[in-house]
Symmetry: C2
Subunit: 316 residues, 2 copies
């Protein structure tokens, strides 16, 4: 087999590992186990070694390993700075630990950056340049691919597209700042707006959910929008317009060839994407920015991180 | 002499050309003539050839030429798409024309991008990576240097940092969009706010200018701010805070090592820069973005474009 590469997708719930041969995005082997994050970093690292070993090739000569990590990290030093939903993950030298336990070269990448790389190389990015990836889910993550490489910045903290200020007096963001794109258009922002309108007595099919005793989620709003519920449609439309406005700013900054949209919220589809495209076109300052440009949905789904970690592994 | 390079700074009022030897930013020869833009592109190109010939070295073997152009252009095809203040400049193949008239390789760059390159290589950028250059004058231009190269994007339209939306319902921008950074913090925006407050009867040392029969300019407001005028200080402070907020977004996107601030408005100094620095620190989501980062004033002044065109010439 050609160059063996193992990719690891390190999530708060699951640890996935896959063995790839050369540059094919089809894994030779694949394994998924629970992360058991509550037992702390040392335990999680042992499980990571276990899941990697379970997909190890017969002849691991020249093996390289790539790991997508959920949170800010220093990709140059291979240190996880923090992982918001993982207890005890603060300044953990994951790269050095894995290398000493496995004796193969390891590279770490932020999960959104790694997914961007996966979509660029084997998904909807189709090796365009520059390519921007925006993941809209419980947060808004981003990755920029320039000249075939992840834009990292001096300490690897690029490209937090979700933390652009789009409305200075807007709602609080999870990061503590105000009016960030994430605070206006991620899943929790969509849910918050729906619950607020329902509290104020808005007429909507979503009221039945509130009457059943639970809060409405972003997924509920997306589904209701696709069923034609006017309140849900309005909320999703506003979120789409806000993302479109932010993408226009990004077009002016990067003049990208493609923007790839992933994450759970992007699955809402037309009720989100149509207003987004209209808003984007309305807010672009010159038609030149739309020439040879496409805004597309991500193609790899949940596998973007794994495929991207494989592409990253090749550079280890 | 080592590699001879001729740099041209093509402005609406003046055409400047300088001869450089190798990579030194000190010109061997320098010449400045009026552009005479009102006589149209063919005339201006003849004058450009004339000013280039006036600084030509005795032995022009291996000569390369770089030109900084005031307006959007296609740097790959060497075509000036438009030059807002220059009559007739629309889709002019300047690179091909100069090459056929002079028989040396020519490269064109947008003036803000070229100034960014100059500051990066020989000025306040000090070859940091990534480096962002923001020019605040009658407009707000920008340039991003990544891995020692200008971020161009697919058609060379990057990096219009002045056209990020920072306030969706904000004032109209010269480009026709609303709430762009340029519409809030460039010289004309500062002047407009001052004139509006004076119209409304604000108490300020600037009233004497209005009484003399002319509108207050951005330069007037900057000078009054430095003299302690409360109205001018407030307007300059707000502009600084807005730029600081936008730079915070750019830090999240690029995680740059340095931001270099140039242009006439930046010369206002402390009344602008202090609120900008405070706002930047307040709006950054994580202290990691400020580590090893500096926001500095440009070092090359009016020569940034010429020095940058020299650096660009070397790549022709």
């Amino acid at each position: 087999m050609s160059q063996p590469l193992i990719a690891v997708d390190f999530g708060g719930t699951s640890l996935r590992a896959a063995l790839f041969a050369g540059d094919s995005p089809q894994p030779e082997r694949h394994k998924k186990i629970p992360t058991q994050a509550d037992k702390g970093p040392a335990h999680v690292i042992r499980r990571m070694v276990k899941v990697i070993k379970s997909v190890m090739p017969e002849s691991p000569k020249g093996l390289k390993i790539g790991v997508g990590v959920p949170g800010p990290l220093d990709p140059f030093e291979g240190v996880v700075l923090e992982a918001p939903n993982l207890p005890g993950w603060k300044d953990i030298p994951l790269q050095a630990k894995l290398q000493s336990l496995l004796d193969f070269p390891v590279r770490l990448g932020n999960d959104a950056n790694v997914a961007a790389l996966g979509e660029w190389r084997h998904g909807a990015g189709e090796q365009t340049d520059p390519m921007l990836y925006i993941n809209i889910g419980t947060g808004i993550g981003g990755g920029v691919i320039l000249g075939g490489e992840i834009l990292l910045g001096i300490h690897g903290l690029a490209a937090e597209i979700g933390h652009m200020t789009v409305m200075p007096d807007g709602p609080l963001c999870g990061c503590g700042q105000r009016g960030h794109l994430e605070a206006l258009a991620a899943g929790p922002a969509i849910a918050r707006q729906a619950n607020k309108h329902l509290d104020e007595g808005a007429n909507s099919s979503l009221t039945s959910i509130r009457e059943s005793g639970r809060e409405v989620t972003g997924v509920d709003v997306g589904r209701a929008a696709n069923e034609g519920d006017p309140l849900a449609l309005e909320i999703i439309q506003t979120a789409g317009e806000t993302v479109g406005l932010a993408i226009a700013s990004l077009l002016h900054i990067f003049n990208p060839e493609r923007v790839v949209l992933g994450g759970g919220v992007s699955l809402v589809g037309a009720p989100l994407l149509e207003p987004m495209r209209i808003s984007l076109r309305q807010h672009v300052m010159h038609p030149g920015y739309l020439q040879d440009f496409n805004l597309v949905r991500a193609a790899l789904g949940d596998d973007a991180g794994l495929v991207g970690a494989m592409v990253l592994a090749a550079t280890a």
